[in-house]
Amino acid sequence: MTPTPTPSPGRTTDARPTGTRFTRVLGAAVLLGLAWLVLFGLFLSPNDEKQKAGVRILYIHVPTAWLAYLAFIVTGIASAAYLFKRTRSLTWDRIAGASAEIGVLFMGITLVTGSLWGRISWGIFWTWDSRLTTTAFLFVTYIGYLAVRNLGGTHQQRARRSAIIALLAVLEVPLVHFSVKWWRPLHQQESVAEGKLSGLMLFSLFVGLIAFTLLYVWLLLHRQRVLAMEDALDDQGLDVALAERRAEGAQV
């Protein structure tokens, strides 16, 4: 049972059902940003004195790590907004879920690029120091969060369950961030805030940060809308099944 589409002005095309004019402009900016990132990160920025070409991994490793933190914090805020009675809406729950999924994607990229970088600068892919361990722990925590979202039940049950987990999980973010200050790790300290990147290197990192931030917003909008459609389909599901049964009955 497909509802007949009613053409209306400003309606999105079927080719891009979750797109709007805003996301299209944003999407173009994302592509431009990523192209700049490749241009500056791989070609225009200089090699580091000691790290040589290895430093180029920094321009994706650091922005994706920051954006993953941000994504998990957004998940926490949206979850709190869902639990708070006056703002309770499944839209908040879907923003939380969408943001967590993007955070997991970015954190995964951080871990992979980090271990490649580790191999060429430290000489090893992985070790159990405080920064690496807490980051990996954060990563699997949010995979667990996404699994909990898919355990079933009503949308309200899903939202409440996952919101409580998100509020606990977000406490890990400061733990990861300050792990390099509280303990003595192999991983280096933050270098950006202390101004230890020079000229074009700092600019390349800045380009990466802008590109991944725009990408995050673009992904969040689209993922949240797909989730909304999936939820609507769940709700519709029962009606559709009944209608199909009735139609079958009429044909006999």
Binding site: P46, N47, D48, E49, K50, Q51, K52, G54, V55, L58, R86, T87, R88, S89, T91, R119, I120, S121, W122, G123, I124, T127, W128, D129, S130, T133, A136, F137, V140, T141, I143, G144, L146, A147, V148, N150, L151, G152, T154, H155, Q156, W183, R184, P185, L186, Q188, Q189, E190, S191, K196, L197, S198, G199, L200, M201, D231, D234, D235, G237, L238
Partner: protein, 164 residues
């Protein structure tokens, strides 16, 4: 985006999840993985390494025990023979000779901080650290590579021996 509160009607009631077992098994793996990580982390010391000047002084940095030590590779101290690869690292004015089997990988070089895993052994005439693994610990300072900066790298090399 409509964020206004709506009338709360439980939705998707009684719907069948297609693959709850998938979510369940992912959750199981997550719990196991998280546990493994905690164990691995606790098996390693909370502080990843001891500094050279803490060996035999600080709790947990004893001679004869499996530890990691950190220090700066001293200029001119790297020697390679058929049997071993040796160098001296220093931190806070204390030096420690290191002996490892083969040349370290990564960006190993003089004047760079490294973390060596192994054992400090008292050989009568002094303590030697027998390393199993050398990890380069890069700091957080970056500078563009430039062939013309000989003067500055000389200055840095001098700073390297001072650091130790």
């Amino acid at each position: 985006m409509d964020l206004s509160p709506r009338e709360v009607v439980p939705t998707a009631q009684g719907r069948k999840r297609k693959r709850p077992w998938l979510a369940m098994s992912v959750l199981g793996l997550v719990l196991v993985g998280g546990g493994v990580m905690v164990v691995m982390f606790l098996n390693n010391a909370v502080d990843y390494y001891c500094n050279v000047d803490e060996v035999g002084v600080k709790d947990g940095c004893d001679v004869g025990r499996n530890i990691r030590i950190q220090g700066v590779v001293q200029e001119g101290s790297v020697e390679q023979t058929a049997a071993e690869y040796s160098f001296v690292i220093a931190y806070n004015g204390k030096e420690m000779p290191i002996s490892v089997g083969s040349q370290p990988s990564g960006i190993f070089q003089e004047c760079i901080p490294v973390v060596v895993r192994g054992q400090a052994v008292d050989e009568g005439d002094g303590v030697v650290f027998l390393g199993d693994e050398v990890i380069v610990k890069h700091d957080n300072e970056y500078d563009a590579e430039n062939a013309d900066r000989l003067e500055q790298s000389n200055a840095e090399a001098a700073a390297c021996s001072q650091k130790g």
